[in-house]
């Protein structure tokens, strides 16, 4: 039998949800939690903080359904990406500077111990630290375009900038990353003689 909830698009679900339909809300949660948790994590690099950001976003959604109008031609996901990005900015401004190990949490329970696996982890760790050290808007542009599979136009809409400005942010992010990684490499070479 067809399930009208599963077949409904996000904006249709939102219409139902905003008039109090909790099943529609549940379907939106099922459909999008992974995506928004992924973005929140990439924005902050920490499990607990990413979880808090996503919970805050869904709570905001639940408590203020009128914040989004599904009939204005904007996709629900575009709007909700913006909510998650803004909450990530807020969380980033509130938190104290983090020591590197906070970023390395994801390695903690990985049992692999071969040299090759350790080297891969090292690369991922250095990359994550480098990305987290980018200015927030550059990091957002990189996360949206590279990891969320969004077009530049969609990413620009989420960030509230023009496509050219988005491309400039992306370019600066990549240049910044290259500089950071090169500095790391030189520092390592200097230590190793």
């Amino acid at each position: 039998m067809n399930d009208p909830y599963r077949e409904a698009n996000d904006n249709e679900l939102y219409r139902r949800f905003s008039s109090g339909d909790t099943v529609a809300y549940t379907v939106l949660v099922d459909r999008h939690t992974d995506r928004f948790y992924g973005l929140a994590w990439r924005m902050c690099g920490q499990d607990q903080e990413a979880e808090d950001i996503v919970q805050d976003a869904f709570l905001k959604l639940w408590q203020n359904p009128k914040l989004f109008n599904p009939d204005k031609g904007v996709k629900f996901t575009t709007w909700f990406y913006r909510v998650v990005v803004n909450l990530s900015y807020d969380a980033g401004r509130k938190k104290k500077p983090q020591a590197a190990p906070e970023v390395l949490d994801f390695m903690a329970d990985d049992a692999e111990a071969t040299d090759e696996a350790m080297a891969r982890k090292q690369v991922k760790t250095e990359l994550e630290i480098a990305i987290q050290s980018l200015p927030e808007r550059q990091r957002t542009a990189l996360n949206l375009c590279f990891y969320e599979d969004l077009s530049n136009a969609e990413a620009a809409e989420i960030m509230g900038v023009g496509v050219k400005a988005l491309e400039s942010l992306l370019m600066r992010a990549k240049k910044g990353l290259k500089d950071i990684l090169l500095r790391e490499q030189r520092a390592k070479e200097a230590i190793n003689g």
Partner: protein, 99 residues
């Protein structure tokens, strides 16, 4: 490092996994934070059963709804008069049309 090398490196980035239990916690938000419009749904549903006895029914359904909404014991509200209930609802900025 050229752009291709950087893109290859970026594609190796750690892929975060949604923590177990997060979806369940998100799904429980409506139960933990009932919205006024949900309270109204409860009130309407209860009120139907009390058609024909509007005063008693209205007071009871308002009590139940307030209990759901505020998380307080229902008994707290069943002892209030209709006017006290209305005052309470007004203070809590519930849409007066609902009354």
């Amino acid at each position: 490092m050229d752009d291709k090398e950087l893109d290859a490196l970026l594609s190796q980035r750690y892929a975060p996994q949604t923590p177990p239990g997060l979806k369940g916690r998100l799904k429980s938000i409506p139960a933990k934070y009932p919205r006024p419009d949900n309270v109204w749904q409860v009130m309407r549903a209860v009120f139907k059963d009390f058609m024909g006895t509007p005063v008693a029914g209205a007071a009871l359904c308002a009590s139940l709804a307030l209990g759901v909404w505020t998380g307080m014991e229902v008994d707290v509200f069943t002892t209030l008069t209709d006017q006290e209930l209305i005052n309470f609802l007004t203070v809590e900025t519930i849409n007066e049309d609902w009354l």
